[in-house]
Symmetry: C2
């Protein structure tokens, strides 16, 4: 077994990602000697104890982080600023502060100002998840073979970056370093826009008259169904992602709506070649994904 990475790892928030990380720590044994946690609600804290996800569960944010040498924010990104301001003064000198949020510029903007001198802030994003949420939804293999992106600000302590890298490697993940702005643009097209579309098309269908909606549900297998799996994801998490990756998401949405409008125009005017060309591009990208074993 490797040398244990951390003495005490503190989880702030124990949903799908937090509880999966807790499970990996228990299964591996070489990530943290001790896992402590807190959660916003008493119900979740109770559940964490029942599921044996942490050695200690605290009510207070400060107590949770006080003696930890690694603190991982696992709450919706909209809560990060408030949490950072609360835990900042309680963080130990030399500790590493990291997170699992799906937006990275906003995290640096919201958390950065509260990180005390001597604490190493290494923003991170394990690109893994399911449409399920909550502490029961996690599992130890969630990160296996999936990418984790780290976006450390310039000048971040290299040993701290190396330790967070090793944390995710031990969880089974492939770790990449990226510029936060590039991360946010790529996630906007690859994840945030698809989720925005999925939530929206469900509403569009739901606004149809009653009989049509009934038939939408019955005949969903013809395409609609593929769009609804991701629409089952956690509302607060996604609200926060949309609001905290606003610029990139609005840019991608704008590009997409322009492209939809151009397609609709081609359909209206019977521009067969234009339509076939777009369909061929879609097939081409699908083939690339299959070749890359991402499909």
């Amino acid at each position: 077994m490797h040398k244990v990475l951390f003495r005490r790892l503190a989880l702030i928030g124990v949903g799908l990602i937090g509880s999966s990380l807790a499970r990996v720590c228990h299964v591996r044994g070489d990530i943290a000697a001790e896992v402590v946690a807190t959660a916003r609600t008493a119900t979740t804290r109770q559940k964490v104890l029942e599921l044996g996800l942490a050695d200690k569960v605290f009510d207070s944010l400060k107590e949770t982080v006080a003696e930890a040498d690694c603190v991982v924010l696992c709450t919706p990104v909209g809560s990060y600023g408030e949490i950072a301001s609360a835990i900042g003064p309680a963080l130990s000198i030399g500790a590493i502060l990291t997170d699992v949020g799906s937006t990275k510029q906003s995290v640096i903007r919201d958390v950065g100002p509260f990180v005390p001198e001597g604490v190493h802030f290494v923003p991170g994003h394990p690109i893994a998840g399911t449409e399920h949420s909550g502490p029961e939804a996690g599992f130890a293999d969630l990160f296996k073979g999936r990418y984790t992106i780290l976006t450390p600000p310039p000048g971040t302590d290299e040993t701290a970056v190396e330790k967070v890298t090793e944390l995710w490697r031990r969880a089974g993940s492939i770790v990449e370093i990226m510029e936060p702005a590039h991360h946010d643009r790529v996630m906007a097209i690859v994840s945030h826009l698809p989720h925005l579309i999925a939530f929206t098309i469900c509403g569009t269908a739901d606004d149809l008259e009653h009989q049509s909606m009934k038939d939408v549900l019955r005949f969903a297998a013809s395409g609609f169904r593929d769009f609804t799996r991701i629409a089952a994801s956690d509302p607060v998490m996604w609200r926060d992602i949309f609001l905290n990756n606003r610029e990139a998401l609005l840019e991608m949405t704008q590009r997409f709506v322009e492209d939809m409008t151009a397609m609709a125009r081609a359909v209206r005017w019977g521009e067969a070649e234009y339509i076939v060309d777009k369909i061929e591009r879609g097939r081409h990208i699908r083939k690339k994904l299959i070749a890359l074993k991402q499909a």
Copy 2:
């Protein structure tokens, strides 16, 4: 075994659907005593013989239908008018003419005028398919447990409707009768719009700069991937569907683009409640699908 339904069933076009129907006929034995077929290209006709999908393969449309008591159009819907005008004079009195096209008003518009007196025209749509195409892609279980919608024009011979119903029941399908306009609206939202979105978002991603596109492919698992499966579908088939369900597809696209624009506006102005409400609706519909075992 039931009484055999048809003496000779003729398939015009042997792609995913046509070849699956041919396979069902062979497996069951009680649908048609003989299956004959034609296809546009010599390569496909040769493939149909090699795969043993038909008892006879003809080059000529007229020869294919001449002695058939059931003719099934299985080509892209854009080709129906031309095929109907070619086969019309060769159809036997008392024969049934049906099809598998994904649009139904256009089929009635394009085929109806060429159906001779005494031939029974029963438009149909088995709602089944995969993203694969061609005679090799078919399989006998494709229709099992899936809906088939029939849209017979008023006054259609009831025995003919009953025989086409029985054909699809024997293929394992659940058969429903529907108004062609209602069919086209429901398919527009449940299938045609999702495909239009899938093809379009692939193009939107492909237009990003090179590094972003590379990362889109690498991180596709975060949502994008779900949208690309259906983007692998056959281009000519989908071009024809889009162009032949134009009014309903444009209406659904317009509704969807309005809803996307409203979501984007809510993101821009930080309207958290609006966003959460839309996400909740998406989750609600997903839950309904799961309850209906359609997810």
